[in-house]
Amino acid sequence: MKTTKRYSLVIGIFMLVLILAACQPKTTEIPTLTIMTHDSFAISSDLVKQFEEAHNVHLAFVPSGDAGAMLNRAILTKDSPQTDVLYGVDNTFLSRALVEELFIAYKSPLLASIPAEFKLDAGNRSLPVDYGDVCINYDKAYFAQHALAIPASLQDLVSTDYGKQADGKGLLVVENPATSSPGLAFLLTTIAVYGEEGYLQFWQALKDNGVVVANDWNTAYYTNFSASSGKGAQPLVVSYASSPAAEVLFASTPTTEAPTASITAVDTCFRQVEFVGILKGTKHLKLAQQFVDFMLGVDFQEDMPLQMFVYPVNQDAALPEAFTLYAQTAEAPVSMDPALIGANRERWIQAWTEVMLK
């Protein structure tokens, strides 16, 4: 009984300490600006400090799952939002976000430095912050070894060169558009290229050719892709144009050659743009506007690539060396009217599911 008592005492004290540590008292008089983001958001601590000091504010970030989860959360709490700024809505969700009337319009002066192609919301309720191209990545070593030509267009993908191997599976792995953002982006690419009448035939051809479908990027990249650490079976994967740069930066031994590259030919990639918006009901409008300016400003824009592996929209921002060397941008990526996406997204995913998974 003695030892039990001792144990319980120790555990009790330990727990108390942890609880007390967790319940940090709410600081002081300086206001807090709360920014809701998706889970992939990243920023240098120096920049955070810089903004906090410059504007005498405390920044609180609320990572809220992937883009869809975050949007849901924003929608469901829009009558009493506890956050001031929402970052991470992309062009596939944009029209939905706008329909829900979540944002307050703000014409930031920095919009002048951003090319028109990114300003998908004329009303400036959602302002563009970054873009990334969803492209097919390929395993350089594999292609060299098998003396295969790299596909130059979507249509090439249905060639039997990339078709079923001995294990019955093809060389391409894509993600399920219902559960994955790059997966949806790739679906939209095919719709843009083949149109509503033709895209399903294309997918059927891909299916006949043994295309592998994974439920999320993680599985596709780390389990199926042959050039990743998971050493899978497929040398072609739908990923981001910046992924090869990440492979170099996060390589275990320093290297100057990326093991992968992206297919950036015309009409093979989808440009995903991410937006920021000030939420209705914010109590810190001025600060929120300053934060939006900050996100569109050069400092943040130059910090983004190495933190989030996305490209800056601000044309004055310079790209880091790793990006210029190893990452690629698409020549002429596909883009689609967000309103069109918003209106048909469900239907397209449904149709795709019928063909591919049933």
């Binding site: 070593a141 599985t219 390589a251």
Partner: protein
Amino acid sequence: MMIKAPAGKLRDITRHLLWLIPLLFLVLFFFIPLGKVLLVMVSRDGIVSVPSILKPLGFTIWQAALSTLLTFIVGVLAAYLFSHFRFIGKRSLRLLVTLPFILPTVVVAAGFNALLGPHGWLNLLLMNVFNLTTPPISILNTLCVILLAHVFYNTSILIRVVGSAWSALDVDLPEAGAVLGASPLQVFLKVTLPLLKPSLLAAGLLVFLFDFTSFGVILLLGGPAFSTLETEIYTQTLSMLNLRMAGILSLVQLACTLVVTLLYARVNAKRATTLKPGKGIEPQKPIGSTQKLFIGLSILFLILLFISPILSLVIRSFISFDAASGASRLTVTNYSGLFTNARQSYFYVPPVRAALNSLGFAMLTVALALLLGIATAYAQKGLPRIKKWIDSVIMLPLGTSAVTLGLGFLITFNKPPFDVASFPVLIPIAHTLIAFPFILRSVAPILASIPHNLMDAGSVLGASPWRVWWNVEAPIVSRAALVGGLYAFAISLGEFGATSFLARPDLPTLPVAIYRFLSQPGETNYGQALAMATLLLILCSLAMALIERIPLAGNREY
């Protein structure tokens, strides 16, 4: 006519008041958030198609039933092994078998891939040995791997719940059966199984509900070809933004859970086994070659099933793969890398901090879950008629969609002072919703079977009710509570359920950190994710080993 003594009346009042604790908890943290979010979801516009409900429903029930059956086969075998025999490494093996429970599915997927993937070790081994050109085992993305992963995750529940009941079984009873002419098989079927029925049912219920709402396994290991209620809710909510459909699917899921738990309560006859404390099976060293062979093969099987995927990912965390040269080498850079914030990211998760946070939440969860679970078990004792309904209600969180419940939390606990920012205890509370049914399921059958005269004997000998409880019941109950407590701990560490919606960046935890790493390409990201997962495993093993060693009077080793 017996006049109720004042002490008895006091006991009754206490019992009725005890009800308030779990009731309040559930109303505040389950019914209100769930009710709110379902109302909101169902009242929105959205297309609802009945076949899209029925198809996933059918598959969900099918895979859950099949998984539970397989888990039973492996679990009962292993429970027999652990309750009857002594062998080297027994304690460690039992602990290791419980570890899968805490692993996030992304990590399990990585482990399975490292072991069973096209370039996994098993395939490499087989290809080398048999000189094959293509990997012979292609198990990923099949129903097989779903079943395998479920068995992998849940067998430990069976082992612990059934194993502890088995070892407490009066050892005379199977012998009495044998002497009355029952062959060993007949003894098992007619004596042992019926006596184990309550624990088998309890374990079975837990496993089934887990498999029923299984998400990561279906989504990541099964792949797009498989669709369950849970994955459908996920897709409809987060991708299609069709909240109406998601709401209806959640209701269907809840209804099924209710049906299952009511069935369980019905089948679980009130005739509980009276345990004679101290008369259980004493684990023996195996004698004779048949027994030794059985033990050896069983241990080997368990190691292959449970330890090899974990071992694969642990080993992988110590390997650094150079894409350029294709060479691999052993290294600790994945671990050392964890402690550096290479890109000065604001969201960098220091491993020690994350570990402490995870531990802190876990201990809170255990405390809360124990309080609730034991209070409920006692409250239930005196109310047999509505016990059935109470049981079902308490099990509901286990059978509720994590997505829906998570959203429910979000919209209910949105404003200070009740939001996560000012009230981080919400996180262990969310864990407790899942954890406390575990404690209840472990403790309630034991409580129900304590012979009445044990308590009365204590009273008659002059002990006050409190003393009687402390000296007589508490030791018996504490062993069962320990088993439940271990699971509460594991559930919290692995962050089951709705907690992904409640994360706070200033209170990072290990699973959150692992997810962050795995959402970007790059060998160091992969390696560090696995390193962090290994840290999670070590942390959990140490904590569980410590918890198991807490000296309790009723702490019989089995």
